[in-house]
């Protein structure tokens, strides 16, 4: 499409646009490369700009991994600061975001050992404050629908849950998921496929993904 700067979609990152990412603007590679080069020379403002571009997605990935908003904040912060300190080691062989997700995984594993705590049950860590300003009925309906879906995802095996949450809740690309989950992209594809199949089968039995809202809507 004329005029649109798109992310690379072939080669090392064979993806189309992320599903439903509504608030994250894809970063034009050329701008990002310039920022990385400037940050490497010690220009803090350039790195702050990079941090702005990646913080939301990293935070969501951290939440998917750690299932604790407070820990996700710490992990994201640590990841970005470590990236700043280690920027000289970024060799450009993978996407910058993929590199960040690798650091995130490292921090996550390190933190998990230190925390030595059991995983939170079900989707507790993913409970979200509803978007501001919505009507109470709408909030309740959305919450009900979302909770049903999240519960189903939470019931998946851990490996499957993580890839689904990283992909759909965090909006991560395949390579980013691979870096964050610590497995090859092919494994991510396989896990994602099997996870979706399980959810599809679940849907047949309990009508999981049909919004309760629809059945309530009738003209007055």
């Amino acid at each position: 499409v004329k005029g649109i700067r798109k992310k690379k979609t072939l080669g090392s990152e064979p993806f189309g646009p992320n599903w439903g990412i509504t608030s994250i603007v894809d970063t034009p590679d050329v701008d990002q490369h310039v920022l990385i080069d400037r940050a490497r020379t010690g220009e803090a403002a350039a790195f702050e700009r990079l941090a702005q571009q990646h913080a939301v997605r990293l935070w969501r990935c951290a939440l998917a991994l750690g299932r604790d908003p407070g820990w996700a904040e710490d992990l994201t912060q640590e990841t970005l600061l470590e990236a700043w300190r280690s920027l000289a080691r970024f060799d450009g062989r993978c996407q910058f975001s993929t590199w960040l997700h690798g650091i995130l995984r490292h921090r996550f594993l390190k933190g998990r050992r230190r925390r030595n705590t059991a995983r939170l049950s079900t989707a507790d860590g993913l409970k979200r404050v509803p978007a501001a300003g919505l009507a109470p009925e709408r909030v309740a309906q959305d919450a009900e629908d979302a909770q049903r879906v999240r519960q189903a995802v939470a019931n998946l095996p851990e490996d499957h849950r993580v890839v689904v949450e990283l992909r759909f809740f965090a909006g991560a690309s395949l390579d980013e998921i691979a870096a964050a989950a610590g497995c090859p992209p092919g494994t991510v594809k396989s896990r994602l496929h099997h996870a979706l199949e399980k959810l599809r089968q679940m849907n047949f039995s309990v009508n999981l993904f049909t919004s309760s809202r629809e059945s309530r809507e009738r003209p007055s």
């Binding site: 499409v1 599903w19 509504t22 702050e48 908003p69 978007a131 501001a132 919505l134 759909f168 396989s190």
Partner: protein, 691 residues
């Protein structure tokens, strides 16, 4: 349901990945071509697409919790990277990112320099009135007996509540429900004063967020805290020294209180009238209305104690804010620790608050007002403010200082200087007495025209008017200019329109449009609206609900019928859908007849679905608020929700160089130029549906 037969098994994983948006365009195309020729794979792809849509839908756009978290992260990162900056600003200096300020307007308002300055100014004025109350005629002599305890009060505590009577422009970006909530809740501040030189203020916003300010004049330090976020800003003498004198005091309200109490007698320009007696909270109180050049205050006092009980105040600078002072307590014990300016343990120290502008109490004059006009015009690119009160002047600063701009070196100091310039001009205009016959006519006028009067007044004891023109020249005139719709000063702000939406505001409201697409697609078999015409969308949704209503509970319209319905424009079209859909054979006649009788542009039909279609309405509101120069276009006709790489809507936010482009998979990207999609419809458009 239908597992794939053996020859299609190799497609299984690719179908999943296609639905999840994880294939390259070529791979995706191949999968979809196969799905079109294979019923089982086609069905599975549809199921998986719906499943993936449901999974994505559970993740809302950035919410306040997330935004606050990300903002903290970025602040910490900014702090961390600045430590390595050569000749940097030091580890305690953290630039506020303001990345998400539009998502958390209240925090922004609380940090806004002008808001802070105004609150202090109002505090100043209110204390003046309290002091004066004890001296005006009509108050019984017994009140004089009570001056002494106030003068000698070692500790003073009271509460101030600010309530808005009209939506300030900076709230317009919030949803209507939240605006109402903010209006109802207001802001409550608990003020504690210990001696003449220590003050603690705890403010609670409408969203229950808390901000604490502590000032210690002995040490020349002040501490501001955001307890929810465990963040602290420490300011030292160097940045507050200009506030130390009583008249310029922005912190030392206790000193102001005492000074004015001693010197308030015989002040010119002060009018006092008795309000008689009444009961407040079961207590008999007597009142006096004090009219000051800058404020009107109703002061209610308890004749038994001689102490003020409640004060209601409005000021010229913020005519839409009603302040109420209450719960006065004198000489109550207070913990010293409450006034500590040491950052509490566990708090991150940085510059999380924008510094307040300096107003040194010096006299202002016409030159200050001219500078205010010049400054505002510079910021706005030409136009003068819509009004000369706080609301008319503040919005431009919020709009101009976007996230990016605040990141630049010196931006904070620049904001401070701008606010100071705006404040001084406003102070001059609001201090003008009624006899000056001051008027403002700058709304809609831009800097430049030498013959266009924008402000005039008659200086004290002067016979001639001073007139300021749009080229900011000043001349004298025997009579005031005759300009239609000139606003007397002080004026009531008309506020800003949403057409002033900047990038941050647009990005927030854009989520409503994305929700419209998602909700419409969910109801209409993944179809997108053929146009962004409200009547048409409402009629289609009404027809869909009518058809569903006519069906038995266990029957639903097929996706094919829903997609056809999205394209329907008349009863004939609906009739064809009814005849072609097998499930409609069992439809109940009466609801069907009622549904069919509704005309596409029927207001009744529209009204009937508005409640259910609230997210749709919000999205349409966003579109209608876009200014013409946003160059907004819609290209979703015939496109299915989820289609990869297909732009369906684009626009350019005010002040932005790039377009924002929404794709059919509801992703958003930025582009230097608008997408080249044929037959894109300009937005907003006129209704096209016909009955």
């Amino acid at each position: 349901m239908n597992d794939l037969h053996h020859p299609c098994q190799p497609w299984a994983q690719r179908l999943s990945l296609a639905a999840a948006g994880c294939l390259s365009p070529d791979e995706d195309r191949a999968v979809r071509q196969h799905a079109e020729t294979c019923a089982a794979c086609g069905e599975r792809l549809r199921e998986l697409t719906r499943l993936c849509g449901a999974l994505s839908a559970t993740r809302s756009p950035i919410d306040n919790t997330e935004a606050a978290s990300v903002e903290r992260i970025l602040a910490a990162v900014a702090s961390g990277v600045s430590e390595r900056r050569p000749g940097g600003m030091g580890s305690e200096m953290i630039h506020p990112t303001l990345l998400t300020r539009s998502l958390d307007t209240w925090r922004w308002i609380m940090r806004h320099p002008i808001s802070a300055a105004t609150a202090t100014t109002v505090l100043f004025v209110a204390i003046f009135a309290i002091a004066f109350w004890f001296h005006v005629g009509g108050v019984t002599p017994a009140y004089a007996d009570f001056l002494q305890p106030i003068l000698e009060a070692k500790a003073l505590k009271y509460q101030v509540t600010a309530k808005w009577t009209r939506i300030p422009p900076e709230w317009e970006i919030l949803p209507a429900e939240q605006q109402k909530k903010f209006l109802a809740a207001g802001v409550t501040t608990e003020v504690m004063m210990l001696g003449a030189d220590r003050v603690r203020e705890e403010s609670v916003g409408p969203d229950n967020s808390k901000v604490v300010h502590i000032w210690d004049g002995r040490q020349g330090k002040s501490l501001s805290l955001l307890p929810d976020q465990k963040r602290a800003t420490l300011s030292t003498e160097a940045s507050t020294s200009e506030h130390k004198t009583p008249h310029g005091a922005q912190q030392d309200t206790a000193a102001v209180f005492r000074t004015l109490l001693l010197h308030a007698c015989n002040r010119p320009g002060v009018k006092a009238e008795s309000l008689g007696e009444k009961e407040i909270d079961g207590r008999r109180v007597v009142g006096v209305r004090i009219t000051l050049p800058v404020a009107v205050m109703n002061v209610w006092g308890d004749p038994k104690t001689g102490l003020p009980y409640r004060i209601e105040s409005t000021t010229r600078m913020m005519p839409d804010v009603q302040f109420t002072w209450s719960d006065f307590e004198f000489n109550v014990p207070m913990e010293e620790s409450l006034f500590s300016v040491e950052p509490p343990a566990g708090y991150r120290v940085g510059s999380f608050f924008i510094e307040t502008p300096t107003y040194d109490g010096s006299a202002t004059d016409e030159k200050d007002l001219v500078e205010t006009f010049r400054e505002y015009s510079r910021l706005s690119g030409g136009p003068f403010p819509p009004s000369l009160d706080m609301m008319g002047l503040t919005g431009i600063v919020m709009n101009k200082f976007s996230t990016d701009r605040m990141q630049k070196p010196g931006a904070r100091e620049e904001v401070k200087q701008i606010q100071t310039k705006l404040l001084r001009g406003m102070w001059f205009s609001t201090m003008l007495p009624e006899q000056s016959d001051a008027h403002y006519a700058g709304e809609g006028v831009s800097l430049g025209a030498a013959d266009k009067p924008i402000f005039w007044y008659r200086p004290k004891d002067a016979k001639k008017y001073r007139v300021i023109y749009a080229d900011l020249s000043g001349r004298e005139a025997d009579t005031p200019p005759s300009v239609p719709n000139a606003q007397p000063v002080p004026v009531r702000s008309k506020g800003h329109t949403v057409q002033n939406m900047n990038v941050d505001t647009c990005m927030r409201m854009e989520g409503d449009l994305i929700t419209l697409f998602r909700e419409y697609g969910k109801r209409m078999g993944n179809a997108l609206p053929p146009s962004l015409d409200m009547q048409r969308i409402m009629w289609t949704l009404g027809a869909r609900m009518g058809l569903e209503d006519a069906l038995p509970a266990d029957q639903h319209l097929s996706d094919v019928s829903l997609r056809k319905l999205a394209e329907a424009q008349s009863h004939d079209d609906i009739e064809k859908i009814v005849q072609a859909d097998p499930s409609m054979q069992k439809a109940k006649a009466e609801p069907l007849r009622k549904m069919k009788s509704a005309k596409p542009d029927s207001a009744k039909t529209t009204t009937g679905v508005i409640k259910a279609a609230e997210p749709i309405m919000r999205g349409l509101a966003f579109i209608s608020a876009l200014p013409p120069d946003a160059d907004a276009h819609y290209a979703g006709k015939g496109v299915s929700l989820g289609t990869v790489d297909r732009p369906i809507f684009w626009y350019r936010p005010k002040g932005a160089k790039k377009y924002r482009v929404i794709y059919a998979d509801l992703s958003v990207r930025e582009a230097d130029t608008p997408p080249g999609v044929p037959n894109a419809q300009p937005v907003p458009m006129r209704a096209r549906s016909k009955g």
